[in-house]
Amino acid sequence: MTTPPKSPFLSAHPYPGKLIVVEGIDGSGKSTQLSLLRKWLESKGSNIFFTEWNSSALVKETTKRGKKTKILTPMTFSLLHATDFANRLYHQILPPLKAGMIVLADRYMYTAFARDAVRGVSHSWVRQLYSFAIKPDIAFYFRVPIDVSLSRLLTGTRAELKYYEAGMDLGLSQNLVESFKIFQSRTLAEYDKIVDEFGLTVMDATLEIDEQQEQVRDIVSKALATYKPKRGTHAKREEVFWRRFALPEPEGAQGEADRG
């Protein structure tokens, strides 16, 4: 516990692509900022790959089942997230990075470092667990006071608190809001330590959305100054930004036949 383990993720990755991640507690607005960043990068013509915490098909179902039956312990919770992360790193993050593309990640291993610590899992063990990970090129941390994030969650688009988000499994309080406050403030404290340990880029998440985004884009532009975007394969991808404004196809026999 005295000497931190050698972390391979403290040195820069060797790949031509760029990895940008966002971190912060629930309701910090990090996902909003990341999707705005994505729009901007796409409008500039870069191919963007996006990956989200706990989203791999491999373990999503298990996490869901485990949460439902409430049999998850801090240890299995931690290991499941690591499994998800390993799976996404291998399949979603590394290939585009090696090909020289930009990968955006909504939450990264720092989320595990913060949450698992709050759940009582050993600091050094979690870091060893993730030692196969790579260091992002930029890691934004959206710092926000609990009350702000809570009011965003309660009045915002989601308008509900989830069981594990509120750390209800820790038995901190019977009251969901109360439990959320305790759990998230402990998570905040852990994040603060992580910011120093790994040199995260701290953002003031109480600012207006566009103000924050301006700063984000500024930092990203600087980091991408030497980056040569890969483009020009004209491969078809879903969810391309400018497709949204295309006119509907005129109806005709040809189109029908194509669709069938």
């Binding site: 383990p5 298990t62 240890m75 499941l80 499994t83 799976n87 060893q128 667990l129």
Partner: protein
Amino acid sequence: MPYLSLKGLKGKLIAVEGPDGVGRSTHIESLQEWLEVQGYGVLTTGWTRSELMSKTIASAKQGNILDPWSYSLLYATDFADRLEHQIIPALRSGFVVLADRYIYTAFARNVVRGCDRQWIRDVFSFAIVPDLVCYLRIDVDTLALRVIETKGMNYWESGMDMRLGADLYDSFKKYQGLIIEEFDKLAEEFGFQVVDARRPPEEIQEALRARILPVLKEGRTKRISKADADKVAAEKATLEKATVLSVEKPAEKPVEKTAEKQSAPAKEPATTG
């Protein structure tokens, strides 16, 4: 697991290791029967059999979505679930826990799949050290024959994901050969009790029982608390009844020895840092 107290685990944890198809499960079944006849509470726990993960692992094996890290971490999650929900509670209640495979299986497979030797050990550092590890040792030629004769070779047990050979048989022999090699190294490092698994099943079972028996006896002395141990010593010194005790517990050693054993870190997590 800093959040779990591992004090007062009075049961015994006995792991049986060995390559696929060596006959672990069959022997564990017989061991359970044998122990239960003697009056021991027995829990058997098997690799990938956790409530949380068994379905996930089965479905993951269907597709080719397993990279070496996810592969190891899936098993680690399964193990953690069984450790917390089965193994530790059973040990706490004084059961004999028979583990069909333990963390050493993960160590061996992980190394064969080319992952970092230290990483997998760090991942499993929350495991508790078994009181006894029996290693069913076999050579790969005999193993191949046995597997063909019984259930046949399958994709994963042949390590087909690693492209070691052209067909199941070649791949099986190469893969299991590497696994056995790793197990042999681990046996030395972690002091496994090696049982020659080329012999007939009755002899293997006999050998396993002979190794397990002393461990259970050791448990008898260990189970006595310090105060009790003193009391027993006093009784021994004064009363002739002490002879009865020593009949019941032939392995009973003098008090000093008992106290020493109590402080022995037999049940501490493998974590050293």
